[in-house]
């Protein structure tokens, strides 16, 4: 890793919020697993907790951190350092620190209680969701110079993906219940990284039988290897596209 990235990781790890985040994830994970005698049930509960908290913390912490780094960015820019390198280092620094927090907080208990392929999948999903929302934070913080606005955009995006999107999807399902929209639903799922992650896990938990015909279509698509690879490719796109758009904007930004 490069030297700028190292500075950023060390700076973030000193931040108490990341420590508290790790601690909260750890308390949640350990207690969920020790309350449920069945590790599958535990995973299911933990899934909902993770899909709510991890995106929230990742996107808001990263957005605020990027805004607060404006001085640091300015200082580095007057040095012989490539602009894109500064932005990449910031991205890697934030991702690595939040991933470390996720792994210590939730990863270790998952591996301890559910060292199955579902557990591994859960870990992978958590990693991807963290990085996706760091990338979204980059997008929202480059969108405007105003810190309050930028954080507002980050919160709204989180609300959209975590809460609102499901409502919209449910609405669509009810409205178009008479039409064969199951295949389209698979496509719509790709528009929300959190939903994509949830479905990936649910299908591996064998509770998809409860999801009816749509579930069967999902199982058909995401259950096999091609589907899983497709899902992770889409998640990867969710990392790359927001970040690259922000990088393009950053390279043209006046400081």
């Amino acid at each position: 890793m490069n030297r700028i990235g190292k500075f950023i990781v060390l700076d973030i790890l000193k931040n108490k919020i990341v420590l508290v985040y790790t601690l909260i994830l750890a308390i949640l994970s350990w207690s969920v697993f020790s309350l449920e005698d069945n590790s599958t049930k535990g995973l299911l509960t933990l899934l909902n907790v993770i899909l709510l908290t991890v995106p929230l913390v990742s996107v808001i912490f990263s957005t605020i951190y990027i805004y607060n780094s404006s001085e640091f960015i300015e200082l580095l820019l007057s040095q012989p350092i490539r602009r894109s390198k500064i932005w990449f280092s910031l991205f890697f620094g934030l991702s690595i620190s939040l991933l470390l927090a996720f792994f210590i907080g939730a990863g270790i208990p998952i591996l301890f209680y559910a060292p199955s392929d579902v557990g591994i999948m859960m870990l992978l999903v958590g990693i991807f969701i963290t990085v996706v929302f760091v990338a979204i934070a980059f997008l929202s913080s480059i969108a405007t110079r105003d810190k309050a606005k930028g954080i507002g955009i980050a919160i709204l995006l989180w609300m959209f993906f975590a809460l609102l999107f499901d409502g919209v999807v449910l609405f669509l399902i009810f409205q178009f219940a008479d039409y064969p929209i199951e295949k389209i639903m698979v496509g719509i799922t790709a528009l929300n990284p959190i939903d994509l992650a949830r479905i990936l896990i649910l299908l591996h938990l064998d509770v998809s039988a409860m999801m009816g015909y749509t579930g069967a279509i999902f199982k058909n698509f995401f259950g096999n290897q091609v589907g899983i690879i497709a899902a992770f490719t889409i998640l990867l796109l969710w990392v790359a596209v927001p970040f690259l758009i922000s990088l393009r904007k950053f390279r043209k930004k006046d400081l």
Binding site: D11, L75, S78, I81, R82, L255
Partner: protein, 237 residues
């Protein structure tokens, strides 16, 4: 050394730089002066690549600076208002920059010693006064012995003692044949420093003259009076 060609910069609808063309060479010590908001800092930031020009080109040592960053190895920049990460100490900032640069050039810690920064090495940047922050900025600008020094209001906020130290340092560097660009409002301070004057107004370069030319054309002995003379004549016209 620095060639600026038809440089224009708009911030939204506001035109900050308007077709600026300049050429600065080694060994010159140039004062960039003009009223507030005339585009001095924008011009400097364009040279540093911090502001991306709307039109025009800048060449540094015969290479275009767009999408280039290595040229900044040769520039020491002291900003008007230095902004530094709040929770880092002076020592951490200096160490970080030194580690990032990892250059073989012997570093120049003259100002570091003269400003006695060693005694306050552990102070956090957020607790520093404006003047002390300026001292850190100055130390960083001179640290790597750059060929070009760009100083934006270097003495603003410094106490008389510190500003005298800085001025002597600038003169010493000038004698080594470096290109020095200074912006300042304190014209009286520039007398024993600069060899050339660039006067800007509303994003345009009004004139670029050597100090001797300026003095002989106006018949004044001091830069401040010569400039005042020109400004007065301009308003009369």
């Amino acid at each position: 050394m620095i060639e600026i060609n038809n440089l224009s910069k708009n911030f939204a609808r506001l035109k900050v730089l308007n077709n600026v063309s300049l050429s600065c060479n080694q060994g010159e010590c140039i004062a960039l002066i003009g009223p507030n908001g005339c585009g001095k800092t924008t011009l400097i930031k364009s040279i540093l690549g911090m502001v991306i020009p709307t039109e025009g080109t800048i060449k540094f040592k015969d290479t275009f600076i767009t999408n280039n960053f290595e040229y900044r190895n040769h520039i020491g920049y002291m900003p008007q208002i230095g902004r530094y990460p709040d929770n880092m100490s002076i020592g951490q900032i200096l160490d970080m920059i030194k580690e990032l640069r990892k250059s073989d050039i012997p570093i120049d810690e003259d100002l570091f010693h003269q400003f006695k920064l060693k005694d306050i090495l552990n102070k956090k940047m957020r607790t520093l006064s404006g003047g002390t922050t300026q001292k850190v900025s100055a130390t960083l600008a001179f640290l790597f012995n750059p060929d070009v020094l760009i100083l934006d209001e270097p003495t603003a906020g410094l106490d008389p003692l510190a500003s005298e130290i800085l001025k002597e340092k600038i003169i010493a560097e000038k004698k080594k044949g470096k290109l020095i660009l200074i912006t300042s409002h304190l014209l009286s301070e520039l007398d024993d420093l600069v060899t050339q004057i660039i006067f800007m107004q509303d994003g345009n370069v009004q004139f670029h003259k050597t100090v001797d030319e300026l003095k002989s054309s106006t018949g004044e002995e001091k830069i401040s009076k010569a400039i005042a003379h020109i400004l007065k004549n301009n308003t009369h016209e």
